[in-house]
């Protein structure tokens, strides 16, 4: 029997993680070197008004570990020796990168979780539905809508949503939908009130992320579903006495999800770092806006931290994709 015991799976996963550790080390090293070469924190300090004395710039740069007079390799080893102990250094404004990191991740997670999950689900359903009703009016309508959304840049979509919400608020005469920040500052009340406030703030960013995600996934899902709809095993399922709908749901959808699992894994985790526009427009301070701001300030340690995070996310996505794939498709479990 070729059925694989869970022990083998574990061994396989451990080995996989080993590869990932090596890849991660390479990625971290490269991003540190590139950020250090491309950014000039010295220029950031020297450009301040009034210009600080050269000695204090020197001292500050050395304290942060980003002095370009120190050899690059030395800087990297110092940074790395701290990093492995969980200390990612200080930001250019002398804050803790680690603390900032924790804060930003929380914000990104709260911002993106609902939107991505909803978008993925809606994309799968819309795609599958479109495939089942291929070339009918509903399929064409879904297709048209998806292409409209896909060709709308995120910032335009977000701004349009914002304008819509403003109109709505105006006509209602009160602020029904809030779209700046995570919560109303200074609001007090019961937990329910606070949660409700947060939900209202989440509405537009979630919609903006969900729509884009759903549009992209619906196209892929429609394609994989069409392949499955013409398959022999679906015909077998119907020959057993399953109605078309049940056969599609039980035998078609799961099979059509297999090639999608890779997209889901990468799409989900890449969003953590890629939602800069949405964050900026709706005034959320997540990973994306941190990255943009850090580059603007030549904040080497923060840029490196976001890069490390992105690298971990990519590897984690790959891992997740494999796990998802194996969960959905028994054929890859044996080898």
């Amino acid at each position: 029997m070729r059925r694989i015991a869970s022990r083998t799976v574990l061994a396989y996963l451990t080995k996989r993680l080993g590869y990932y550790a090596v890849l991660l080390a390479v990625a971290v090293f490269l991003s540190y070197v590139l950020s250090s070469l491309a950014l000039s924190p010295r220029g950031y300090f020297e450009g301040r008004q009034p210009p600080p004395p050269a000695s204090s710039v020197e001292a500050q740069l050395t304290a942060l570990g980003i002095n370009d007079h120190t050899p690059l390799m030395d800087r990297f080893t110092t940074w790395a020796s701290h990093a492995v102990r969980g200390d990612l250094g200080r930001t250019i404004d002398s804050g803790s990168v680690g603390e900032e990191f924790g804060r930003r991740i929380g914000v990104s997670l709260r911002l993106l979780l609902a939107g991505t999950a909803l978008g993925t689900l809606a994309g799968i359903l819309a795609g599958a539905w479109g495939a089942v009703r291929q070339y009918r009016f509903s399929d064409r309508a879904v297709t048209l809508f998806a292409f409209l959304l896909l060709s709308t840049p995120t910032f335009l979509l977000a701004v349009l949503l914002k304008i819509g919400a403003m109109r709505l608020n105006q006509s209602a005469g009160s602020e029904l939908i809030a779209f700046t920040g995570e919560k109303t500052p200074g609001l007090t009340g019961s937990t329910a009130t606070l949660l409700g406030d947060r939900a209202i703030h989440l509405l537009l960013p979630t919609l903006s992320i969900a729509l884009g995600t759903a549009a992209a996934y619906s196209r892929y899902q429609r394609g994989t579903m069409l392949d499955v709809l013409g398959s022999d095993f679906l015909r077998t399922a119907r020959a057993k006495g399953l109605t078309r709908g049940r056969a599609v749901l039980k035998h078609g959808l799961r099979t059509a999800l297999v090639p999608m699992s890779t997209f889901f894994a990468y799409g989900f985790l890449a969003l953590f770092t890629g939602a800069a526009f949405t964050e900026k427009i709706f005034g959320w301070h997540g990973m994306g806006s941190w990255f943009i701001d850090a580059i603007g300030k030549s904040d080497v340690n923060s840029v490196v931290a976001v890069n490390v995070f992105a690298a971990v996310m990519v590897l984690l996505s790959g891992f997740l994709a494999d796990v998802l794939h194996a969960a959905l498709d028994p054929r890859v479990r044996t080898s």
């Binding site: 095993f233 020959a239 028994p330």
Partner: protein
């Protein structure tokens, strides 16, 4: 099985006046069929005749683009026009279907047992546990070993034969009145086909269902069917009880079809000229008239109805005349009898064209995606011996995975083999220089299996045929002179050179492939399943052509086929492969009449013969299981796991079989003298 009585029993499936159109092109044009309990009806026809469409229409499973007219009644319920919900209640319960390709017919992501249990639960109000238990019982019934355990396997963990058994288990899960089997064994090897047909018989006996067996294989039909209906161009053209139809066909198409099947003792095949008509552009009158040698003006004015006595109907105005004069296929179809000039020179004195000894080829078995490391070897070819003399045809037979194709590729490579020796026209391939290889390439040419895939669709036929000549450095004038000559040689016209492959039928395309191979005047032609993609009536024409070319040009053939009837018909000598090794070789008459290796015996006994009387009376050796994996190299004989002789041996003899590799013309430690019952 009790013979069904015409009036006593109402039909469980009653098809009347069935018409099916796809986008305005007719596929089925008025079919009447009735099946009664316990009856097996064989529906025969070539590709495109509409036989599968009839079966799908009876299940209500035609694609949405199909327009269906007429009536299909299952146990009194009209199916045409019924909604999906209503049909779903009948599908799987009243009528069940077994499809052709077991590789794709099961859902890859669900366990086999669950898929069968689902069939049970769809129609019976039983719990999950009960349905699972029933699934295991059904798997046991269709002969899956260790069904409890195997029911938890996924389809990809099953071999093709096992998947088809699982399909049959699914079909009989709800005791249907009718089982529709659409080419159920076409994708399987012949020994596995024999097993699956046996299972189908058992399944039908257990359920007492009627069986509609759709097949292009007249041998399979002969062994299974009580009645046979022959389809041509979307209509039934002849229907009769099986023994009668095979013994005395009355419609020229049926006669041609039966005459085109190679069978023991027949040296002459009757190919039906031309190709099946395009159903969109049907001629007036009988659809078969353009290909029929007996057709006259009456045939071309009106399409004949299926008429005659209930037990033997024909749709042919010539049928009474054929019956009265008792015409045979050879009387109706012109055959160019090849002069049976057998070589007078003793075989030993003829020069060898190809000699292969102990040929070996292994492929590394890798594990891991990015950094694959070798964890073993696939012993694809593990000791093959071949010997072809001038003007000889060697048939190379074996089941899929036995290493036939790898053997061919190794020979055509004209390079030093991994182990063993290849000698082409007296040159050892291990000692050839680049220049010699190039010269020798022209002497060994290949004809491929799929005539469409092996011709560049964007090149005109003339260019395709000229390519080998150019590669050998022939000048323009010579090429221009040779092309018409080559096209005429293979039965095409010189004017065809300007056309493109898609303008030709399958048989004509294969002729183009042969013309290309012959362009550089090879001495040895390697034919890799050259007729297995073709319909029987067309296949006969190609086989006759090959025979004629061999006699005219003095060629030698290495003819690879899984179809033993074809090999028997065309080959002088035969070499049988199992698991990468040659297990038996010798003269065709000798090997087919007195096979001595137990595998050869089983293989030959598994081939269905297109003669209902002979097919049902002969005894057969049924092999258990599937060929083992080529990863585990057998120290001794590779056949021990399935060998019926080995099963009856004592411990000492068994040790010898398992430990010591047998050699010789019959690679077996205990060759069996028992001659086969003549079929």
């Amino acid at each position: 099985m009790t013979a069904p009585h015409a009036d006593a029993d109402p039909p469980v499936l009653d098809i009347t006046g069935l018409h099916v159109d796809f986008d305005g092109a007719p596929a089925v044009r008025g079919v009447d069929l009735a099946l009664r309990r316990g009856e097996v009806l064989g529906l025969v026809g070539e590709s495109g005749s509409g036989k599968s469409t009839v079966a799908l229409a009876a299940m209500g499973l035609l694609p949405r683009t199909a327009r269906v007219r007429g009536s299909v009644r299952a146990g009194g319920t009209e199916l045409i026009g019924a909604g999906d919900r209503e049909l779903s209640r009948l599908r799987g319960r009243r009528m069940a279907m077994v499809f052709q390709d077991p590789l794709s017919a099961l859902t890859p992501v669900h366990r086999v047992g669950d898929q069968i249990a689902e069939a049970v639960r769809t129609h019976q109000d039983v719990g999950r546990v009960h349905a699972r238990r029933r699934a295991v019982e059904l798997l046991d019934l269709v002969g899956i070993p260790d069904p409890e355990h195997r029911s938890r396997a996924y389809p990809h963990e099953f071999s093709g034969g096992m998947r088809q058994r699982a399909m049959i288990a699914m079909a009989i899960a709800n005791d249907p009145d009718v089982i529709l089997a659409d080419e159920p064994t076409t994708a399987l090897d012949v020994t596995v086909q024999a097993q699956v047909l046996e299972v189908l018989r058992t399944a039908q006996r257990e359920t007492g269902a009627a069986l509609l067996l759709v097949s292009h294989d007249l041998g399979v039909i002969a062994g299974m069917a009580d009645r046979v209906a022959v389809m041509y161009a979307g209509r039934i053209v002849e229907s009769a009880p099986a023994p009668e139809l095979f013994a005395a066909p009355r419609m020229p198409y049926t006669m041609g079809l039966l005459g085109a099947v190679p069978r023991p003792g027949s040296r002459v095949l009757t190919p039906v000229p031309g190709a099946p008509p395009e159903l969109r552009l049907l001629p007036r009158g009988c659809a078969f008239a353009p290909r029929c040698p007996l057709a006259d003006d009456t045939c071309r004015t009106a399409e004949p109805e299926l008429a005659g006595p209930e037990e033997h109907r024909t749709a042919c105005v010539k049928a009474p005349e054929i019956a009265a004069r008792d015409l045979a296929a050879t009387d109706v179809y012109p055959v160019d009898e090849p002069a049976p000039v057998r070589a007078v020179t003793p075989r030993g004195e003829l020069p060898a064209v190809l000699r292969v000894e102990g040929l070996t080829k292994t492929f590394p078995l890798l594990k891991g995606a990015a950094f694959g490391r070798r964890v073993g070897s696939v012993h694809a070819v593990d000791g093959v011996d071949l010997d072809i003399r001038r003007g000889e045809t060697l048939g190379l037979v074996g089941e899929s995975g036995s290493g036939k194709s790898t053997t061919l590729l190794e020979i055509l490579r004209l390079a030093a083999p991994e182990a063993g020796e290849v000698e082409v026209l007296g040159h050892r391939t291990s000692e050839l220089t680049k220049r010699q290889i190039k010269a020798l390439r022209g002497s060994v040419q290949i004809v491929f299996q799929d005539p469409m895939a092996s011709l560049d669709p964007r090149q005109p036929v003339g260019e395709i045929v000229a390519e080998p000549l150019r590669a050998q450095g022939a000048d323009r004038g010579a090429v221009a002179r040779r092309i018409p000559e080559l096209l005429r040689l293979v039965g095409l016209e010189a004017a065809h050179a300007a056309r493109f492959p898609h303008e030709f039928s399958g048989g004509q395309r294969q002729r183009i492939g042969i013309a290309r191979a012959l362009a550089v005047e090879p001495r040895l032609l390697v034919l890799d399943e050259p007729v297995s993609a073709l319909d029987v009536s067309v296949q006969a024409g190609i086989l006759n052509l090959l025979r004629r070319l061999k006699d005219e040009l003095g060629l030698a053939y290495l003819f690879v086929s899984h179809d033993l009837s074809v090999v028997r018909h065309i080959a002088d000598r035969v070499s049988v492969m199992y698991l990468g090794r040659t297990v038996e070789s010798g003269a065709v008459e000798e090997v087919f009449a007195r096979p001595r290796h137990p595998y050869t015996q089983a293989l030959l006994s598994a081939v269905p013969v297109p003669d209902p009387v002979a097919e049902r009376s002969r005894s057969r050796v049924l092999l258990a299981g599937d060929p083992p994996s080529a990863v585990l190299r057998a120290e001794g004989c590779g056949f021990v796991g399935r060998c019926p002789v080995y099963a009856g041996l004592g411990a000492g003899d068994r040790a010898r079989c398992a430990g010591e590799r047998p050699v010789g013309e019959v690679a077996c430690h205990f060759p069996q003298p028992r001659p086969f019952p003549a079929a």
